[in-house]
């Protein structure tokens, strides 16, 4: 189907071609029309069964009183009136923001070196080494960090052994430990998304910038960085979502010296089995993630450069 008319006037030809597309769709045989639905049905069914249905159940649960089972909004109002609950959200947002920023700052140069400095034939191996931490269990990795950061851990022993400090530093069971554990994981994730974006960039952009007199710094700031923003944003959004909903890392490394939202949710379930309040807190957390998505939605599509 020609997108350009025989007269060569593409501007006039395009709308005509656009109108032709649905007509072509309508002429598909019935079996051909059913195929896309057949292909998408398993995924739709899975989402319906394991996301939509539980989410609806959670929504109803969040509007139910723990004692008595009647309708109530108190599970939501508690979040806004109890400063400890509110503080958990503040803590979560602070930790997530720090982790995201730190991970981007560490991952970008790493991805840059992998994409630009490592010879093509070594890139695959380098990338594999970069994602090695993904191969170990998340829980094991967190406990490993606890051993590294502990009072008698590797870092404190090295510092006291070298005479730099006399008393061990409190590194484990702190927010620093939580951020370190998170960043270790998410730097790898961001490296992958930024690396993929950098590899898609045509060398012509750099050549064109150089032809126009831009130096390396200016080329990076005005050409490369804006073009790799989608990769950064996709990785940052994934980091945000996975980090704000994670229970394991803060539980193991944070020492419960402050509570984050997932810990607060879990706390409602343990002894008291307060699923309505846990549901309400989870939905509030999900709302925050949705807002974060909407805030960076414009960057969340990678277009081929």
């Amino acid at each position: 189907m020609p997108l350009v008319s025989s007269s060569g006037n593409s501007r006039r030809a395009l709308p005509r071609a656009g109108r032709a597309l649905p007509r072509a769709g309508r002429t598909l045989p019935r079996a051909g029309r059913a195929l896309p639905w057949a292909l998408v049905t398993p995924a739709l069914g899975w989402t319906l069964l394991f996301f939509v249905l539980p989410f609806i159940a959670m929504g109803f649960s969040s509007l139910t009183a723990h004692e008595g089972g009647g309708f109530t909004l108190s599970n939501y109002s508690q979040f806004f009136t109890n400063p400890s609950y509110w503080q958990a959200m503040v803590n979560s947002l602070e930790v997530t923001a720090i982790v995201t920023v730190v991970s981007v700052l560490l991952a970008y140069p790493f991805a840059w070196i992998l994409a630009e400095q490592v010879p093509e034939r070594w890139q695959r191996l380098a990338l594999m080494l970069a994602v090695l931490p993904f191969w170990t269990s998340y829980v094991v990795r967190s406990y490993s960090w606890l051993l590294v950061l502990a009072q008698n851990g590797v870092i404190n022993r090295a510092l006291t052994g070298s005479g730099l400090i006399t008393e061990p530093l409190q590194l484990a069971n702190t927010r620093l430990a939580t951020v370190t554990g998170f960043a270790h994981f998410f730097v790898m994730l961001l490296t992958l998304t930024i690396f993929a974006n950098l590899k898609q960039l045509s060398p012509s952009y750099r050549k064109a910038a150089a032809d126009l007199g831009a130096g390396p710094v200016r080329t990076f700031m005005h050409v490369i960085l804006p073009l790799t923003l989608p990769g950064i944003m996709v990785g940052a959004f994934l980091t945000f979502v996975l980090c704000i909903g994670d229970y394991i890392t803060p539980q193991i490394l944070g020492g419960n010296n402050e509570l984050l939202m997932p810990q607060l949710v879990m706390m409602q379930i343990g002894r008291r089995g307060d699923f309505p309040l846990a549901s309400a807190l989870s939905i509030i957390l999900m709302a925050v993630v949705t807002f974060a998505y909407l805030a960076c939605a414009r960057w969340l599509k990678i277009e081929r450069a």
């Binding site: 069964l49 249905l53 539980p54 609806i56 159940a57 109803f60 649960s61 509007l63 139910t64 723990h66 004692e67 008595g68 089972g69 009647g70 309708f71 109890n82 400063p83 400890s84 609950y85 503080q87 958990a88 803590n91 606890l146 502990a150 009072q151 008698n152 409190q170 484990a172 069971n173 539980q251 193991i252 020492g255 419960n256 010296n257 402050e258 509570l259 607060l264 706390m267 379930i269 343990g270 002894r271 008291r272 089995g273 307060d274 699923f275």
Partner: protein, 363 residues
Amino acid sequence: MSVKSASGNPLSILKRHLHAACAATALLLGAGSLAEAADLNALIWCDHSDPALLQPFEEANNVKVNVKEFEGTGAGLAIVEQSQPGDWDVMVIDSIDVPRGVEKGLFEPLPEDKLPFADLFPQVKMDGSTVVGGKRYGITEKFGYNTIGFNKTKVDPADMQSMASLTSDKYKGKVAIYDYYLPVIGMAALAIGKKTAELTEADLPALKDELLKMKANAKLVGEVTASQTALATGEVDILVGGGEWVTAGLAKENPALDFSIPKEGAVLWSQSLAMFKDSKNKDMALKFIQYIMSPEGQARLATSSCYWGMPANAKAALTDDQKKVLRFDEQPGFLARAQAYPAPNADLDKKMQDMWTEMLQAK
């Protein structure tokens, strides 16, 4: 009572249907594994999953014990609610929470004449919790103390005879707190001279002050593994809420770990076994409870690989070494000074948990 009042509520009806749908789905998915060898299904704490405990029973009775671990009564009862009646045969539960299961109509009264009640330490029978409406629904199988666990080479053992040490500057930054609000609130109550069984809402401000003082001295607030690891690795020297359940299992590797019952007393924890009313295998369930309560079963449970604790049966077949580690002979004195877990009603329970949350968030 609360179940009845909720029965006509549209939200509750929908919730029940959704629960039923989820349970049906879970059962469909799990049907294969359950159908193969579902002889006895037990909802348990980790100490019951030790093969050294289960194997002798399985071999003697030619059954397979399918276990599912849970933490916290609320989580355990949620598993039951999302299962079909009859899926589960026995359950391990905090003794103080037996009435919660009875209120939901889950448990079967236990035949007292077929269980060794006469051999139990009298103080741990917990009749106030395990007997409801004149019927006994739970039998205490294991107990111990939430008290002060410590490394005796790092702290002065004499200091560990007073709870004031937990908030003194001498041990600032050397303390971990066990992350379970009821026993530690119980300890705070003992520290300020209150009885754990008589706590009311009016006591909360004073309890909160005491908890905040403990938190100010603490390096971390950790669940079982984290707090045990912190004490064992030297990250901290004192564990508030620790006891034989932390130190006894590590005695061989780390004999420096010990526990004290300070002059203010300690909080007695105890776990019970209950049988489900809808069990399809009540005879085997009773046999299982009888085995766990037998001298052999009690010794194996007391020294389970997950955590050690005192056997409720005074005739438990423990070796002399095991008795020494558990300080078996000192139990009469310990029990005389111990007070039960606080057993708040639902409203006070919620307020206590919120107070605990506030303590955790305190900088």
